[in-house]
């Protein structure tokens, strides 16, 4: 090949790749423009707002306060309680949902009579809106509600699930577990079905019984799934808002005052969006950290 043709070919290639780039830009532009406007710009605005004190009624009247909003997070006992409550809520949901999701998935992975309806039943709350779930549970747990009616007919006395300081947070944890356990079950079912059949047969031939097989083989093989469930449920719990808004308004005594509910109140009721932004930054950093840890963990090989 002479040098002229090489140059010609290269020139054509460069022209082609430039055209490809233009076409790609055309295909991507609508998505990227909207993404930047409604995801990246708000993140920037959020960080900026967190350094100011202002109201939503008169947003132009801003005063720069530096890191004061962040300092307030760690000085204000109410906010500290909010963070603590949100963390307990997240831990509670995760700790309950992992074994329950795994058990349900193991059950549903077997040939059972009526497995189809069972699966639909467990997944139904996942596709039901958080508002409807909270509304329903509000009535289930009310003093004159269904759960107390059942307790009464069994001879127990009425319990004030949503207004007793020691019961309110556990109640909304259990409600959230009921709502999300189907999600964990879907993920564990996928994990269980990806375990090769010969691994299970080999372990049985080696004389591993049901329990032994579950703890020594199945659970370790599902480590990746467990990491995912933990992360998804933690992020879900950190973002929960509806139970506090619909059921308890953060009461009694702030024991169900979830972080996002506090953000909502600070911004839209108490007219302190600067402080709400600082709290949002905290949530953002928390969620991103958890996701990054997940990616790190999933990149590790969990081969056995």
């Amino acid at each position: 090949m002479s040098s002229t043709t090489t140059r010609l070919v290269r020139g054509a290639e460069r022209k082609r790749s430039r055209r490809e780039l233009l076409v790609a830009a055309g295909f991507l532009a609508p998505f990227l423009i909207i993404l930047v406007i409604f995801q990246y710009v708000p993140v920037g605005l959020l960080v900026k707002n967190s350094l100011f004190g202002y109201t939503l009624i008169n947003p132009d009247l801003q005063t720069f306060v530096g890191l004061e909003n962040f300092a307030r997070i760690f000085k204000d006992p109410t906010t500290l309680q909010t963070i603590l409550v949100t963390l307990i809520f997240a831990v509670g949901v995760v700790v309950l949902i992992i074994p329950l999701g795994f058990l349900l998935a193991s059950y549903l992975n077997r040939p059972l009579p009526g497995r189809g309806i069972l699966r639909t039943a467990v997944f139904l709350p996942v596709i039901t809106s958080s508002v409807v779930v909270a509304t329903l549970w509000n009535f289930l747990l009310a003093n004159e509600g269904l759960v107390n009616a059942a307790l009464n007919s069994l001879g127990f006395s009425t319990m004030s699930f949503l207004t007793d300081q020691s019961l309110a947070l556990p109640s909304i944890i259990i409600m959230s577990v009921w709502q999300q356990v189907g999600m964990a079950t879907i993920l564990y079912l996928g994990g269980l079905q990806s375990i090769p059949g010969d691994v299970m047969e080999a372990s049985t031939l080696d004389g591993a019984g049901g329990l032994k097989r579950t703890f020594l083989i199945v659970i370790p093989l599902l480590t990746r799934t467990t990491v995912m469930v933990v992360v998804i449920m933690t992020v879900f719990a950190l973002q929960s808002f509806t139970p506090a808004y619909v059921m308890t308004q953060g009461a009694p005594g702030g024991t169900t005052n979830l972080l996002v509910y506090e953000i909502y109140k600070q911004a839209f009721t108490l007219q302190d969006p600067g402080f709400a932004s600082a709290l949002s930054v905290l949530l953002l950093v928390g969620a991103i950290t958890i996701s990054l840890v997940q990616m790190r963990l999933l990149r590790t090989r969990w081969d056995y």
Partner: protein, 309 residues
């Protein structure tokens, strides 16, 4: 993230995918323990069904009762608690005539339809570019998009409110839907299914003189149509069930979405009317429950890939 999803590829679990455990389990089942095992299994199945379905049953049934009827039937507990003996439609009528729930349902449907159509256009186009066109910086673009997957939507409510106010969009249905149409989750879902289409199909079309848009429209899209249905269901689900953002973005009653309307009928202050609230919650839930029961198989692969966004 890619690993995360590829592991979950086969989550759509049908009864035909019998796990090895079943076969081994059955071998062991012979013996005296078998009857007890069956009794135990049935009890567990029953308990699960009660725990998950009975609350719904109670909700739907109570929506057809009067306030006093609900309280009379609940204590003592009996079959009447769950079956409306004297069915009344007064709650439903009050909802649609007095409370304008029809309007709220229509608003929710309009927002969801808008979100589905726009995100379908945006995400399919972007997914095509990211899987079928070789250009410099493709991975960077994908990283920029995937990074937003980690942003919790709830953290962005305050600046988004400011943004739509600056655009004079507050209290419009457009403002409820538009921030979410560039869905990283949706793109992620479609990118995976686009990648599964063999590149040979593009090559063949290219030899026939087809350009990128032709390949996109008449080669790729027809092949991935099942995944597109999953995509549509997911976007519809997220939109229909959304609460915090519609609560913040909309102030007027005529633009209210159905979830906000339900929440406000229980919320602080006034004592809620149980029958009316149950009926409202039922109306807000039934469309999705019906969709889910019939299209479960298409929902589940999508749900398995959510970070619940």
């Amino acid at each position: 993230m890619t690993q995360l999803a590829s592991q979950q590829n086969d989550t759509a679990s049908g009864p035909e995918t019998t796990a090895p455990e079943g076969r081994l389990g059955r071998l062991k089942e012979r013996g005296p323990g078998r009857l007890w095992q069956r009794v135990w299994t049935s009890l567990v199945v029953l308990a699960i069904l009660i725990a998950f379905l009975l609350p719904y049953e109670w909700m739907f049934a109570s929506g057809l009762k009067t306030q006093s009827g609900i309280f009379a039937d609940i204590s003592p507990l009996s079959w009447k608690t769950f079956i409306p003996v004297e069915v009344t439609f007064e709650n439903i009528i009050e909802l649609f005539v007095g409370r304008g729930v029809g309007r709220a349902l229509l608003n929710s449907f309009l927002v969801a339809a808008f979100q589905v159509i726009c995100s379908l256009v945006l995400c399919t186009l972007a997914a095509y570019a990211l899987t079928r066109i070789a250009f410099k910086g493709r991975n960077v673009v994908f990283a920029i998009i995937l990074a937003t997957f980690m942003l919790p939507a709830e953290a962005l409510v305050v600046p988004l409110y400011q943004l739509i106010s600056a655009m004079s969009l507050q209290d419009t249905l457009l403002a409820v839907g538009v921030p979410w149409i560039a869905s990283a989750f949706g793109l992620f879902l479609l990118r995976q299914s686009f990648e599964a289409v063999p590149l040979e199909m593009d090559e063949a079309a290219k030899l026939d003189g087809a350009g990128h848009f032709r390949i996109f429209w008449s080669v790729i899209l027809p092949v991935v149509r099942v995944d597109i249905v999953t995509f549509v269901l997911m976007i519809f689900l997220f939109s229909w069930n959304g609460f915090l953002w519609p609560l913040v973005a909309i102030q007027s009653t005529e633009n209210t979405l159905v979830q906000v309307a339900v929440a406000q009928s229980v919320s602080p202050g006034a004592l809620p009317n149980w029958g009316l609230t149950f009926a409202g919650a039922s109306v807000a839930t039934i469309p999705l429950v019906i969709l889910f029961i019939f299209l479960q198989r298409l929902f589940i692969p999508g749900l398995a890939r959510t970070g619940l966004k």
